[in-house]
């Protein structure tokens, strides 16, 4: 992950980006139909971007852990899964808030939203397995993550086809030039936060494993 000596630099960068975000968002033009509410978009979509990155990282590192047995991959998978659930939660909360104000409903069964929800639930299930599965659940959870990743295209395709039978209003507006800068700014901010928390969490896991090893070597 991020080497320790870059931590301070990247933290400062992330803070700058987050500090600047409200300014960028305020400067962005109002969307024609939704007005102020649309600006949740600048948090909502980057949160989903972070979630998908987390899901992707978890899937890959789970595969490495399952077949190669590298402990580091397991630490990465745990950290990525937790972040997937966290950022997914942000996305799932901001989405309905936006939808309620913009279109008057809390939830819409559109393809992207539903697929994202299902992917989020897969990683919640991953967490439950790790928490309550007892010893050996790290390998089992790795298998679950792999299956979850393989599932993504099927979920998207089937939900997509399902929804085209019942057409609904389109969710994401087209990006007007003024908006794309703010969007990019916020996306970078979220990605930096994602990388930072991922590295910190992986470090925590490595420390925990190191303490276990110390306990074990105590009696030698």
């Amino acid at each position: 992950m991020i080497p320790s000596r870059w931590f301070p630099a990247i933290t400062v960068m992330a803070m700058v980006f987050f500090a600047g975000a409200p300014l960028m968002i305020a400067r962005a033009p109002y969307e024609s139909t939704m007005g102020l509410v649309q600006k949740i978009f600048y948090f909502h979509v980057p949160a989903w971007i972070a979630m998908f990155s987390g899901a992707f990282v978890c899937g890959i590192s789970s595969g490495i852990y399952l077949f190669k047995g590298k402990k580091v991959a397991d630490h990465l998978a745990v950290a990525a899964a937790e972040l997937t659930v966290l950022f997914g939660l942000i996305g799932l909360v901001t989405g309905p808030l936006w939808a309620r104000k913009a279109w008057g409903l809390w939830w819409q069964w559109d393809a992207r939203l539903t697929s994202a929800l299902i992917l989020w639930m897969i990683f919640v299930a991953y967490q439950l397995l790790r928490q309550y599965g007892g010893p050996g659940s790290d390998k089992l959870a790795a298998g679950m993550a792999l299956f979850g990743m393989a599932n993504v295209p099927f979920v998207y395709w089937s939900v997509n086809v399902w929804r085209t039978i019942h057409p609904t209003t389109n969710v994401v507006p087209t990006l007007v030039p003024g908006m794309s800068e703010a969007f990019l700014w916020c996306s970078v901010a979220f990605v930096l936060i994602f990388l930072l928390t991922l590295s910190a969490r992986v470090k925590l896991e490595s420390h925990r494993a190191a303490i276990d090893r110390l306990y074990l070597s105590l009696d030698d």
Binding site: A125, G143, F154
Partner: protein, 229 residues
């Protein structure tokens, strides 16, 4: 390990499972009864004199299969866990994926028989023309059940040595098999319409076939690492 030995081992395991089932009939009867209860419970939720049940029958069918299937999978592997027989199987000098295939086919056979009984029952209870296109319905059910069971067999096997395995199996299984449920329900709903859209039904069956191929392959690939402690 040669292909013929692989097939022979899988067949040994299927035969063993079917023999035990034929003798005790425990899994079959309990799964069947549970599926029927499911259908009834849902019926009380949906049936009313004013509104015909319509497309809900398709949903009820697939939910009953999912619930009953989860139960059957849990029990099938509980049988291997009892008296620790699973370890004896894992000690055998065979390609471990052969064990997976054997158990998978056993579960699919069981669910197939349950479905053969449930589907006419649904047609009867809800007066829906679900049997109007038996081949297409059979295709949907076959591919969907295989997809559901392929993931379920792997998860049930890997959870044998986990704690809280009873509740974790549905927790893990349902999110992954959502595409199967969507395809199954949507395809069945199309079959209930007066004019069926054969192309669309075939598209759903196609997706299910693709799902089956991908997930059986993935399960074969991950079965050995997941079963080794």
């Amino acid at each position: 390990m040669t292909v013929s030995r692989f097939i022979r081992v899988a067949w040994l395991i299927v035969k063993k499972d079917l023999t035990i089932e034929a003798r005790s009939r425990e899994l079959f009867l309990t799964t069947l009864f549970f599926a029927v209860s499911c259908v009834l419970v849902f019926a009380f939720g949906f049936v009313s004199d004013q509104n015909p049940i319509g497309d809900a029958a398709a949903g009820i069918l697939w939910i009953a299969i999912a619930f009953a299937g989860t139960l059957a999978l849990g029990r099938a592997f509980e049988r291997e866990r009892y008296h620790d027989v699973l370890h004896a199987l894992l000690l055998a000098p065979v390609d471990r994926p052969a064990i997976y295939i054997g158990k998978l086919l056993g579960v699919v056979c069981l669910l197939a028989i349950v479905e053969i009984i449930i589907v006419p029952l649904i047609s009867l209870f809800f007066q829906t023309p679900i049997l109007r296109h038996p081949w297409l319905l059979g295709g949907l059910l076959a591919c969907g059940t295989l997809g559901f069971a392929s993931v379920g067999t792997l998860f049930a096997a890997m959870l044998v040595r986990a704690r809280s395995r009873d509740v974790l199996l549905p927790v893990l299984l349902y999110p992954i098999t959502i595409p199967v449920i969507i395809a199954g329900v949507r395809g069945t709903v199309l079959l209930l319409q007066p004019e069926i859209d054969v192309i669309m039904v075939r598209a759903w069956i196609g997706m299910l076939v693709f799902f089956d191929v991908v997930f059986i392959t993935l399960s074969l690939w991950t079965f050995d690492p997941l079963m080794t402690d």
